[in-house]
Subunit: 275 residues, 2 copies
Amino acid sequence: MKTTQLTAEILRKKSFLCVGLDVDMDKVPSAFRNSPTALVDFSKAIIDATVDYAVAYKPNLAFFETYGVEGMAALKEVIDYLNAKHPEIFTIADAKRGDIGNTSTRYAKAYFETLGFDSITVAPYMGKDSVEPFLAFKNKHTILLALTSNPGSNDFQRLETNGKPLFQSVLETAKTWEGSDQLMYVVGATRADALTDIRKIVPDAFLLVPGVGAQGGSLAEVATYGLNKEVGLLVNSSRGIIYASQEEDFANAARRAAKAMQEEMALLLAQNNLI
Amino acid sequence: MKTTQLTAEILRKKSFLCVGLDVDMDKVPSAFRNSPTALVDFSKAIIDATVDYAVAYKPNLAFFETYGVEGMAALKEVIDYLNAKHPEIFTIADAKRGDIGNTSTRYAKAYFETLGFDSITVAPYMGKDSVEPFLAFKNKHTILLALTSNPGSNDFQRLETNGKPLFQSVLETAKTWEGSDQLMYVVGATRADALTDIRKIVPDAFLLVPGVGAQGGSLAEVATYGLNKEVGLLVNSSRGIIYASQEEDFANAARRAAKAMQEEMALLLAQNNLI
C-alpha cells in the first residue's frame, strides 16, 4: 500500500485509528478461553466490530508467537482475513525485528511476502545495514522505533548524543538511508512534548503513536503537535478497545470505544483543516 | 541450564564453539533444495556432524520465520531434537526481540517455555522494562545486544553518551537490572579492541561473540581479551561451518571446520590455564 492510499482512507473514514491486536488469552471473554481457535475468532470479531472506525490493525507478534506453531497459524489466518476482506486496511506486524543484512532480508520476506503485511516495526540499535534491507521492498513500510512510550525509554533513547537525545540522532540518521521515504516512526504519546522536535526532523513521515488511553497519552496533544499536511499520524489503541468489555458484549463495547476515538479524531482533523 | 553447567561442558569438550544455524535454502546442498523437510534435515545433519566439537547451537529465527507456519514447525523440530538428544547443549534463540513489559513476557514464554530454549538474544533500545521480563525466568539467559559485528554498529552503538560509547552505557545500565546475573552480552569479534573495556564493565558475564571467520574477526584476539576465569565466552560460527562445503560432503566438511575451531580453542584454553 502507498501512503497516499493510507491518507485517502484516513480522510474517507475521518479516522487515523490503529487497533492493536494484543490478544491476551487471559483477558478475552470467558466464552473464548477454552477454544483452540480463540486467537483467530476473537481477532476477527474485534476487526468486524471496529473496522468502520479504524484504518489500520496491528497484531502484536508476541501474543501469537507465545503459542508456537499454532500461534503462527493463527496470525496467518488473521492477516489473510484482513487482506481478503479489508484490502483498504493498512496492516502492521508489530514485531520489533532487526538483524544484520541478509537476516533482515529474511525477516522482511517473512512479514511482507509470506504473511503479506504492509509494514513491520523494527528496532534501530544495529544501524543502517539492519534496516535498509526492509526498505528495499516497494510499497512496504518500515516503522522504526524512535521514542517509545514505556518508562524504559529513558534508559537509552533519551541519553545525550552529540548534544541531542539518542532518539533524535536515530531520526536524523535514518532519514539519510536508502529508501527512507518508506520509513515511518514509533513515537509514544506519553512523549507529546517531544513531537514538536520530531516533526522538525521528519516533517513528512507517518508517525505511529502508541500510548494513548491505558498508558496515559492525550489524543488532542498528539494531534496538535503531530499532524502534518497529509495527516501523517496513526494513533494506536489496544487494551482500551479490545478489552473495553471482557464480557459477552465485548464486540459492541469495542465498537463503541473505537467510534468514540474516531469521533474525537474527526473533530481534530476538522480543527486542523484536514477535512 | 546454569552457567556452571555450560562452563563444565566447555571444559569437558575443550571448546567454546557455538554453531549458528542460519539455514539458507539457497545455499544448502542441492539434494536438500526441493525437500519440504530440508530446514529440519539439514539442521539435524549439521548438529550430528558437529556436536562433538560444539557446546551451543544458535538457530537464527529469521531463516525459519521466512517460511511462515512451516518454518516455525521446523524450528520446533530442531529445538526438540537438540533438547531430546543433546540436553547438555546450550541453546540460543537468535531472535533479537524486545518490547514493553507484558509483551516481552510473552516473547520469553514463547522461547523459554513453548519452544524450550535456554536463552534468547534481545535488543536493548527500549530499556529496563523491556528486558527485565526475560530475566524473571530462572535458569534461562538473556543475551543482550551490546556491540554488534556489522558496519551499522557505528551508527548508534558507538555514539558518545556521557563521555562513553552507547554500548558501554548499555552494559553499565543493564548490569544494574533485576536478575542481571542471567544476562549475557553480544560482542562482535570484529571489535576485539573493545573487549578490554567491556571486560572491565562485565568481568563475570558470558559474552556471545559472532563475526569470527566470514566477518573477519580473530579467534586468538577474542580469547586474549575476552576469556575470564570461568571461560565466559561463546564464539559463534555460522557460514564457516554450515557451508564449509555446499556439495554432498557438507557434513564431513562441517565436522572438519568445527574440529579445527575446537582445536584452536583447546590451545587457547590451555594457554590461558583454563584446562
